[in-house]
Symmetry: C2
């Protein structure tokens, strides 16, 4: 009856599940359900602003472990409680270096200075006259999943481990309109972006990124971006490490070299095995993880589950995700959501029949540029043991005979 496509119980991805075969539905019904209190009296009226169910219990997890300084740190998306691909704005991950400034947009402006023919200043309202564009993009902190570079696996949820990645529909003005208007000098090779937070976070962006698909983002999932995401405006560099998409953007300085700022030398530089350092390694590489079942979940019965997860690449669209239930010995191709978008999170799914025996669940993503997600050990080859940025190794979730699900290094 079961139609297996790989070892450890991975079913054919197009298998039509029947609860009759897997013991899910209750079969012939008892005559009636108990009448619940919510059916006996009118509920709350339509309101001005919606809220989640108390039963859903959704919140971000603070990612800890080292001292960040005043207002600084990060909080991660609870990936294990979500489905689909969009991250609701209240649950989008955060990473700040000096907290969240409460900016009055009427007192904020964006200036373009340096190697330009015509320095410009734009108010928030001015920018609304420019052509906007709308795209769905993921955003990932380059330090995401760093705990998988350590010596032993942290027994935490998928969100606490790898939830410094989120996905939203971003709307804003393509940067090339504004740079073109300022008029680039021939020496213009880099753009230095500065935020209006107390850290004045500053990063150097190669001009080719700015003229390609960089955006001055002003809306996220339809509404003005939240203060925690850069209100009233942020730089957005699709597919690149999150930190380069400078929040609360107030200044773009055009020049012929990078600025080598504190924010790109003390951090966001990759220490390699040979003792050299790689700077401006901006693209986030192909990556995936299973979000259900995942760390700290408990399987309470044998039978069929839907394995579900997320895949993404900073170089293009996801073309394939394979799933293994036997720690990488055999693989089966998962179903991708219709039309995976470039530089966006892609949901993958495949049915799995759990026999009750121990299993190791993994996913391996491939993008349309031919990049394949590496194993953990291959991913660790590249960097010094002190390096923890840009980790994209295959995630292993161990399922014990008791149904516990744990992070594992397989």
């Amino acid at each position: 009856m079961a139609d297996f496509s790989a070892g450890g119980g991975i079913l054919n991805r197009r298998a039509l599940l029947k609860a009759s075969g897997v013991g899910l539905a209750a079969g012939f019904l008892a005559p009636a359900q108990a009448e619940e209190e919510w059916m006996t009296r009118a509920g709350e009226s339509p309101g001005k602003y919606g809220a989640q169910s108390a039963f859903a219990d959704l919140s971000r997890e603070r990612v800890g472990g080292h001292e960040f300084g005043a207002g600084a740190g990060s909080s991660s998306t609870p990936l294990q409680k979500l489905n689909g691909t969009i991250t609701p704005n209240s649950l989008h991950f955060e990473r700040h270096h000096s907290g969240i400034p409460a900016i009055n947009p009427d007192r904020h402006s964006l200036t373009i200075v340096g190697a330009v023919k015509r320095p410009l200043r734009f108010s928030y309202e001015d920018l609304h006259a420019y052509p906007m564009e709308t795209y769905v993009y993921f955003l990932e902190c380059s330090g995401n999943s760093y705990r998988n570079t350590l010596a032993s696996p942290a027994n935490v949820t998928a969100g606490a481990l790898s939830g410094l990645v989120s996905c939203a529909e971003w709307t804003g003005v393509p940067l090339h309109y504004l740079l073109d208007e300022a008029g680039l000098e021939s020496s213009a090779g880099w753009v230095i972006g500065e935020g209006a937070d107390a850290a004045a976070l500053t990063r150097s962006v190669p001009m080719k990124y700015m003229l390609d698909n960089a955006m001055l983002a002003m809306y996220q999932n339809g509404e003005p971006i939240r203060p925690s995401q850069g209100y009233p405006m942020r730089l957005f560099l699709p597919g690149c490490e999150g930190n380069i998409s400078v929040k609360w953007l107030q200044r773009l300085k055009v020049q012929n070299t990078p600025a080598y700022t504190r924010d790109e030398t003390s951090k966001y530089t990759d220490l390699l095995k040979d003792g050299t350092a790689e700077m401006f390694s901006l693209r986030m590489e192909v990556k995936s993880l299973i979000t259900s079942p995942s760390g700290k979940m408990q399987l309470n019965r044998k039978g069929v589950y839907e394995i579900s997860g997320l895949a993404w690449s900073g170089e293009g669209a996801i073309s394939k995700v394979e799933v293994s239930a036997d720690g990488g010995k055999t693989w089966a191709e998962a179903v991708l959501q219709s039309e995976p978008k470039s530089l966006a999170l892609t949901r993958f799914r495949i049915p799995w029949q759990w026999s009750g025996a121990p299993a190791v669940l993994q996913s391996r993503a491939t993008d349309n540029r031919g990049n394949i997600q590496p194993t953990r050990s291959a991913a660790l080859q590249r960097y010094s043991r002190a390096g923890f940025y840009h980790y994209n190794g295959i995630q292993s979730w161990q399922v014990t005979a008791l149904g516990e699900v744990k992070n594992a290094f397989a």
Copy 2:
């Protein structure tokens, strides 16, 4: 210099705007900006759950005008403050008949009964084992924009007038899996869906809709759907009037006829000019409106603006949106966001140079089935004066010489 594509100042949709030409940017800069308080001290730390900026001032508007009963009524999406296509969950429109039930998912189940070989009951957890799918869909109340069917134009915002439409990424189990498992009898022509709210709202759905793309929706924009949208689960019929997508779904009864419930005879039936009534007219037709500039906005300067709006159709994808600034005398084709999705909101945009003279802004959508949005007078031809469902006439916004923007019947 200006590259016009229609009367009243509509510019070429691919025009490269130059602030230098339209007086937007400030030109050569004053040496420095004032140092704002938010740059002098660390801001708020990363948090568990995000919030909007106080300056953004986002909330839904209660749509009033008649008595709804306890817990009932509607609140509409503030379309004029949004951009892109996704509606954040907190701002998705609401329409309830007996308020919002606070359902404990552990005490909620979905049963399938009637003309089936095997009646079934599913818990919330059971349903998570079934294959889920993810799509972006609009949802529109069939009474949306009803005030444009009245004798004089209401001077309200775009959201208050037509904000009973929203758009989200919905994730859930395709209904055909569940109905197939129950085993449809040959007499099965309709499915009667019942909600677990105090109104036990009940609607009759033709089987072909259920077997096509109907979904048991459990996630909205990534997170579990909100109580106001049917937590823990709702029926979702893409492209159809909102009310048929029964929230808090607890029962599907399969039978050979519609049930002609209170909810589909006292409401959601269309009274026609010839005195007959049209029932089960479920598809929402092709429609669009400009969201900026729109009602109650004020233009404070002459010059270039981005006209921006939304278009949608219950029959497919938007293929074209035309915009007029002279009340429909001349039209120019707007830019659509890349790859408009079927049955989803589509953003359109076109630059407009306002001379300071009075203008009437309109948009006219066409879908990929060849349906064209009608004028207001054509839209009103079809229904009795007492009818107000399914209104999809062209929206006119009058711009006065003082820059006031008002709803108008042009």
